[in-house]
């Protein structure tokens, strides 16, 4: 903390020249903060690009399904959603970085995180549910059921979180619900939601449902496109980011990984569901991230992988100067501790991601005051990693909180 105090006012004045100075040291193997930051920007762009491309494939599959609603096309649409989630989940490590996805009020802000990935959702806000399973059921007219509601991108975007923060109308989980439907099966049955493709053929409001699915998918694709554009070389935020003081940029970048490991994934997405397993039918369905598709274990895995991507500066074809390289240069012992913590997270996240049992079953087997099961074991590893990210940042004179 003390270091941060001194550093910030100082860098406030010297801002303009710090970038240039640090770029001049490329002759030997020395890693500079500037090169880590540059590689990070490439990493962000590449992973948003992949996420966008996968979402476009999903959009194509969904179009095929809505034009020709068959069982096979329905399955293909669901498979495309699952595949696209593998990419998006990794990009969550770019949240809470004072970047465009969740910052408001700046000229470069996009602020579309809630529009893309808000959860848990009150699905009866969107469409029919089994009576008695949701708080709005019975006295709330769903958007699909309300024929006076004109389903457009603007309208759905305007309705998102329109009543409270569970009244979600857009994003991954709205699409997920429209593809899978409520998961009313017992966790031990290892089944996701059982929506029939006939919801898009002969069921009541089939046309409106198909229209909703199309529009909400377009909205997500557009949102991802906005992120790709802004992070592209010469893009609006990329330009802002590259002009930041290097230490500030590095601090913001690593803060995203710190946030996902120490907070969003570990606390919000794992401890809370473990502790609240008495949701619907005492099954905790409501508090798991992808509760309709039973894909939460992959969310956990992808989120953790996103954290590791930032630490190691590597993703897909990107492999450059990294945070851990920089730490190693200053304090090899701390880098080794960080690496051990990261490696444990990789192992434990894989134990969940590749588990034969779905997440909604795993959480019914655990409580948050015991750390014996795979979910809480992963939480422990993530907390430890967050602490090591913070300690490593301190080594570089960067305060995270």
């Amino acid at each position: 903390m003390k270091k941060f105090l001194v550093l910030l006012p100082f860098s406030f004045f010297v801002f303009a020249c710090s970038n240039d100075d640090e770029n001049n040291s490329s002759s030997n193997d020395e890693i500079t903060a500037a090169s880590v930051v540059e590689n990070y920007a490439n990493l962000v762009y590449e992973s948003y690009s992949d996420s966008y491309d996968a979402a476009v494939l999903m959009q194509t599959a969904i179009t095929t399904f809505t034009e020709t609603p068959t069982e096979d096309n329905f399955t293909a649409a669901k498979d495309a959603w699952l595949s696209a989630r593998e990419y998006y989940g990794q990009t969550e490590a770019y949240r809470e970085t004072n970047g465009p996805i969740d910052t408001e009020g700046e000229s470069w802000s996009i602020g579309n995180e809630g529009q893309m990935n808000a959860w848990p959702i009150d699905e009866s806000y969107i469409d029919y549910v089994l009576t008695g399973t949701e708080s709005y059921a019975g006295d709330y007219n769903s958007i699909i059921g309300d024929e006076t509601y004109s389903i457009t991108e603007e309208a759905l975007a305007g309705s998102n979180e329109g009543v409270d923060d569970k009244s979600i109308s857009t994003g991954w989980h709205a699409i997920e619900f429209l593809l899978w439907g409520q998961d009313n099966t017992a966790p031990a049955e290892d089944l996701p939601g059982q929506r029939s493709y006939t919801d898009y053929t002969i069921a009541e409001n089939a046309d409106r449902r198909a229209q909703y699915l199309t529009v909400v998918t377009n909205l997500l694709v557009n949102d991802l496109n906005d992120l790709v554009s802004t992070w592209n070389e010469g893009g609006t935020y990329r330009t802002v980011f590259e002009a930041l003081d290097t230490d500030t940029a590095l601090q913001q970048a690593i803060n995203g990984a710190f946030f996902i490991a120490g907070d969003e994934l570990s606390s919000e997405r794992m401890i809370a569901p473990v502790d609240s397993t008495d949701g619907i039918d005492a099954s905790g369905q409501e508090d798991e991230h992808s509760c309709f598709s039973d894909n939460t274990q992959r969310d956990v895995y992808a989120n953790a992988q996103g954290v590791l991507n930032v630490i190691y500066g590597s993703y897909s074809t990107i492999n450059g100067a990294s945070f851990i390289d920089l730490v190693k240069q200053t304090d090899p012992a701390q880098a080794a501790t960080l690496e051990a913590a990261a490696s444990l997270v990789a192992t434990r996240a894989a134990l969940i991601g590749d588990n034969a049992q779905p997440f909604d079953y795993l959480i019914t087997q655990e409580t948050s005051d015991s750390t014996d099961g795979p979910v809480m074991q992963c939480v422990v590893a993530l907390f430890d990693l967050a602490n090591e990210i913070s300690a490593s940042a301190s080594v570089l004179g960067i305060n995270l909180n």
């Binding site: 903390m1 004072n98 408001e104 409270d164 923060d165 606390s267 609240s276 008495d278 005492a282 909180n401």
Partner: protein
């Protein structure tokens, strides 16, 4: 001694602004105080995202983070009417204002003013008859008690609907610039249990819920140090403590929370909100909120006794107590730094106080002994006739309000997508909120109006940096 220091400081400040009429002479180094951006010491967060109010303070133990996470979940979760398959979350109502805490405190943020015909998102109306009950609380209204529950479960009548119209008040600054304030005028319709004509009313919007654990951990003397009930120092500002009924301690203690400082502890504030706003009983408030003659309400199935268990209540209390205060933004901007000097110069700081120190927190040890900058003295002040609701609340008169802490205020637009301020959200901007200040704040308000437009903007920039 304190007064002496303030006096010298004010002189120094006014010298400052005279001798340096050319503002270019005022530099960052002159105005920036080391660490001023940290409103809660090292426990603040740097987030500027829509989730900026949703983070826990640093330094919680593993078990505490678990409690925070579960409390967060309970805070966000919609409660449902009993009987339901979700036994842990049933018991909503029978009458209520919101289904979840987050229904009013969206993302731990601030509610919006009433919109006619829409279910409220963070607005409620307190009501009473003149006089006090046995505990010093406002006298209940027959058939309704002390709050209008405008929603109800299926098969049960809600109590009434509240409506609002606005009267436009035009004003002008001495420099000729004009402004417009909107004064809300409330009425009732659809009263199900008798006329509400002529009763006392107090409209309220939900406050952001950051930093509450620090307030809970403030020893009484940290608040009482600013009491000057009869304005003995003659500065035009009094400061009065509210003493209110403490349900757990079964006695009267210092009020700390709410628009009128009418709740003595965080636990009672939260249990009161569960009870009054959501219709959930707890060990503090065991009776269903169904005053006679609301028979359908009284006959409705409940969700257990109590509906919210002590363990659940404690986790929500823990969660609320450990929500962090965001560190300031843009604190190094020259405009903000000048705004800070202006803020002090026109004595906004006389009520919006800083530098209190917490004692021992019974909720989380990490909150112990922290010097905080809430920009509030947490005392009651007469705010003048224009803001008055004319409804007493324990020792608070109908024109007295508790100083609202300003920490986090600049992020409300990010978290909640609006900038509605004051107790019923009537001010549409920070500027309007300042202009509504009257009574003990009249001098500061008038001094604000006398400032140049540039200096007024600097104050607004400063407030937005908090």
């Amino acid at each position: 001694m304190k007064k002496h220091i303030t006096f010298i400081f004010l002189i120094a400040l006014s010298l400052f602004s005279c001798t340096t009429e050319d503002d270019n002479y005022i530099t960052f180094e002159d105005l920036y105080e080391e660490g001023e951006e940290f409103l809660t010491g090292e426990l603040g967060v740097n987030s500027t995202s829509a989730n900026a109010f949703g983070f826990e303070v640093d330094g919680l133990t593993f078990t505490e983070i678990g409690a925070f996470s579960t409390g967060n979940s309970l805070f966000n979760q919609n409660w449902v009417s009993a009987p339901a398959s979700t036994t842990a979350r049933d018991g909503l109502g029978p009458t209520f204002n919101a289904r979840s805490c987050a229904g009013c405190h969206f993302k731990d943020g601030r509610g919006s003013p009433l919109v006619n015909g829409e279910d409220s998102s963070g607005f409620l109306m307190r009501i009473s008859l003149p006089g006090q009950d046995l505990f010093g609380n406002a006298n209940p209204v027959a058939g309704y008690n002390t709050q209008i529950q405008d929603r109800a479960n299926n098969g049960v009548d809600y109590e009434a609907k509240v409506n609002v119209t606005y009267e436009i008040l035009n004003g002008a600054y001495p420099d000729g610039n004009t402004y417009e304030l909107q004064k809300p005028i409330y009425s009732f319709s659809d009263e199900k249990f008798g006329s509400l004509e002529g009763i006392l009313t107090s409209p309220r919007v939900a406050q952001q819920t950051i930093g509450l654990g620090f307030v809970n951990a403030l020893p009484d003397d940290q608040i009482l140090q600013f009491v000057d009930e009869f304005d003995a120092d003659g500065d035009g500002i009094s400061g009065k403590a509210n003493y209110v009924w403490n349900v757990e301690e079964n006695t009267t203690t210092l009020g700390k929370y709410g628009w009128k400082a009418n709740a003595p502890s965080l636990k009672q504030q939260i249990a009161g909100a569960f009870h009054g706003d959501m219709g959930l009983t707890s060990s503090l408030f065991t009776e269903q909120e169904c005053p006679s003659p609301q028979q359908d309400c009284a006959d409705a199935v409940n969700g257990g006794e109590p509906e919210i268990t002590d363990s659940q209540l404690e986790k929500v209390v823990f969660y609320q107590a450990t929500l962090a205060v965001p560190n300031r933004r843009n604190y190094e901007d020259l405009s903000v730094l000048k705004g800070k000097a202006n803020f002090t110069e026109i004595n906004c700081i006389g009520c919006h106080r800083i530098n209190q120190t917490t004692g021992i927190s019974e909720i989380a040890a990490v909150l112990n002994n922290i010097t905080i900058k809430p920009y509030s003295d947490f005392l009651l002040h007469d705010m003048g006739a224009e803001l008055a609701d004319n409804r007493p609340d324990f020792l608070a008169s109908g024109s007295e309000w508790r100083t609202q802490p300003l920490w986090g205020i600049g992020l409300i637009s990010t978290v909640n997508n609006h900038t509605f301020f004051l107790h019923d959200g009537r001010a549409r901007t920070i500027e309007e909120a300042i202009l509504w200040h009257g009574g003990e704040a009249e001098n500061s308000k008038n001094a604000f109006k006398e400032l140049s437009q540039e200096k007024r903007q600097q104050i607004i920039d400063f407030v937005n940096s908090l």
